[in-house]
């Protein structure tokens, strides 16, 4: 009985809070991957707008962050609007991002001398509103800073995408530290798709969903971004052979 009464109180409180929040509590918009296996694991059925998402590479990718950056570029390409890309190390080669469907006219780069400036610029851009996504390449992301970014993103409903890359592979342990981001992913390169002839096929990644708010972790093998920034599921590394192109759910 007491249990039921407590529930009643809680639900009443919830109602009142919702009432207070009023019109600002608009339904959360998400950007689906269009892959049921992945979307089902994410609250709302996709990557939430107005939230922070972190991406890191695995292995050597912790330093170069190439796969993480391309994955992020693919996500950014599927949003609409301008993209602000904040970085401190300008070694991005844009033709590759263009191949993932991100048009150069959509991206404004903001290059700073220090990490702190990158975070400050991201916060400014996230708070500005009306952008498709704000991308930042960061080494360190302390809890308080990530909280500020998350709040700025919530306020404007812009998606914040963070590519984490470190100076040395051993520093990547930092990725275990808690941050305020809604999801956290690790993208590692795996051998590419087998081709019937000599050559390098479509790149494949191991995509790990390490952390998700109100959801469970998961791991996928995916084919890298195509010309429109979409990924697809592949049947795994090495064992796929000729059916690697077939996506998991089309069987």
């Amino acid at each position: 009985m007491a249990h039921g009464a407590a529930n009643l109180v809680i639900s009443e409180l919830r109602e009142r809070i919702q009432h207070l929040e009023g019109p600002s509590s608009r339904p959360k918009r998400v950007l689906p991957f269009d892959i049921p296996d992945i979307d089902d694991r994410l609250p709302g059925g996709g990557l939430a707008y107005g939230a922070l998402h972190e991406f890191a590479g695995g292995g050597a990718g912790t330093v170069d962050g190439a796969a993480a950056a391309l994955f992020v570029a693919g996500i950014a390409a599927r949003t609409t609007g301008q993209i602000v890309w904040c970085l401190a190390r300008p070694d991005l080669f844009f033709p590759a991002l263009a191949q993932a469907g991100l048009h150069p006219k959509r991206v404004v780069f903001v290059e700073s001398a220090s990490e702190d400036d990158v975070i400050a610029n991201m916060e400014e851009a996230l708070g500005y509103g009306g952008l498709g996504a704000v991308v930042g390449e960061l080494v360190r992301l302390p809890m308080t800073k990530s909280r500020r970014l998350q709040l700025a993103a919530e306020k404007s409903g812009t998606m914040g995408l963070i590519v984490r890359r470190w100076r040395r592979q051993t520093e990547a342990r930092d990725f275990g530290q808690p941050t305020a981001s809604a999801t956290r992913w690790r993208v590692s390169v795996t051998p590419s798709e087998e081709l019937p002839v000599q050559g390098v096929g479509r790149a494949q990644w191991r995509l790990e969903l390490i952390r998700v708010k109100a959801g469970e972790c998961a791991e996928y093998f995916v084919g890298a971004c195509d010309a429109k920034g979409r990924i697809n599921l592949s049947s795994g590394a090495g064992d796929g052979q000729d059916q690697a192109i077939r996506s998991f759910y089309s069987r």
Binding site: D64, P95, A96, P104, K105, T190, V200, W205, A224
Partner: protein, 472 residues
Amino acid sequence: MIARSGSKRWVSGADAAARKSGVRVGMPAAKAQAIFHGLMLVDADPVADAAALERITLWALGQYSPLVAVDAPDGIIMDTEGADHLQGGEPLMVSGIANRFRAKKLSARVAIADTWGAAHACARATRQESVIVPVGETVRAVEKLPLSMLRLSSKIVGDLHTLGFKTIGELSATPRAPLALRFGPEIGRRLDQMFGRIAEPIEPIRAAELIEVSRVFAEPIGAAETIDKYVGYLIIRLVAELQRHGLGVRRADLIIEKIDGTRQAVRSGTAKPSRDVVWLKKLFRDRTETIEPGFGIEKLTLVAVRAEPFEEFQKVSALVEEETPDITPLIDIFGNRGQRVYRVAPVASDVPERSVARIAAAAAISDETWVHHWPRPVRLLAQPDRIEAIALMPDYPPASITWRGRKMKVIRADGPERVFGEWWRRDGEFDAVRDYFVIEGEGGERLWIFRRGDGVDPATGSREWFVHGIFA
């Protein structure tokens, strides 16, 4: 250059060639003619010189700094604090100034120092094109300089020479009282100005056509919120004024006059002409913290140093059309914080490092993109990294490579993609060839490597291997 004083004709300026043949400033014209036969003599025109200097000063006002003045007879003095970020920092600004003058076939000496006196002396003493004296290093920078750099009258300098003084350092180490007794207070004042012991505010020049609003305070203000509030009022007045003229502001200066007679200036720039009050307020509010009110501010002046015609356009033509927000205000915020803001644009070049150009963030948007049929790496190394590779010549990819001390077995590879040197850019690229390969290691790591040369003809390259990029 020949100047006249009374009936005396003397050399007042000489170019590099004349100096080489022995002509010196200050020597009688007849002697100069005797040294070099056929010397070209031009009468000096101090009035035209002064007018030209003023024109350059006005140009510098719009370009570099809110506080600019003529440093007669042959210099310009600028207070660039709080304005250098728009030029990309002090070193870039200094070299930019020197280059601008060189492009006009003028030679300029540029110096940045803590005080007017020190900058004046360093600019005239240096043999290099530009000098930046670090903060607090004034004493070391000027102590070896001759007395003539101290902005004293030539008579005082001559008399000091007679007394045996040669450098500024010697003079500043001498007790003041006897000097003041002999020469008056001038020497002490100039020394103090040079070392920043007494203030020497710059009386900035102003062009009559600049749009300017100001506000004088009966009671000095100092709190950040108060400054913000009054800057807001000034912006509203400035925008109203601009509207009357049909202009939008590109560069605005806030000049702060304090009760102790010193001035500070804050400059903000926009990427497009603007008349948006909220946006301008935000730009200045970002920088309020850099204002040092000191004992209080008695006057605020807001000047639209650079204003351009403002084009009005309809924002949304149809209700159903999706609105694309203008992000120029955001670009301005980043720009005024001193960040590098840019877009990238494709360049028609097969050489990877030349195929991407940085363009201004507010530049006109074009639909162009890269047309590559071959995959391109996400990260491109600034300098290709030398690797050891074992490969069959001429056109097989390597079987294994050693990069940064780590050996990598090549499982799969694609290539070659041949890139020819652009002989129209550099002679050295006439025969040059690079053969690019995509290689994949056991773990799936994919690299972009190239070999110099086509593997057959040694003239095309040295057959060394390099890593150039990292694929996702």
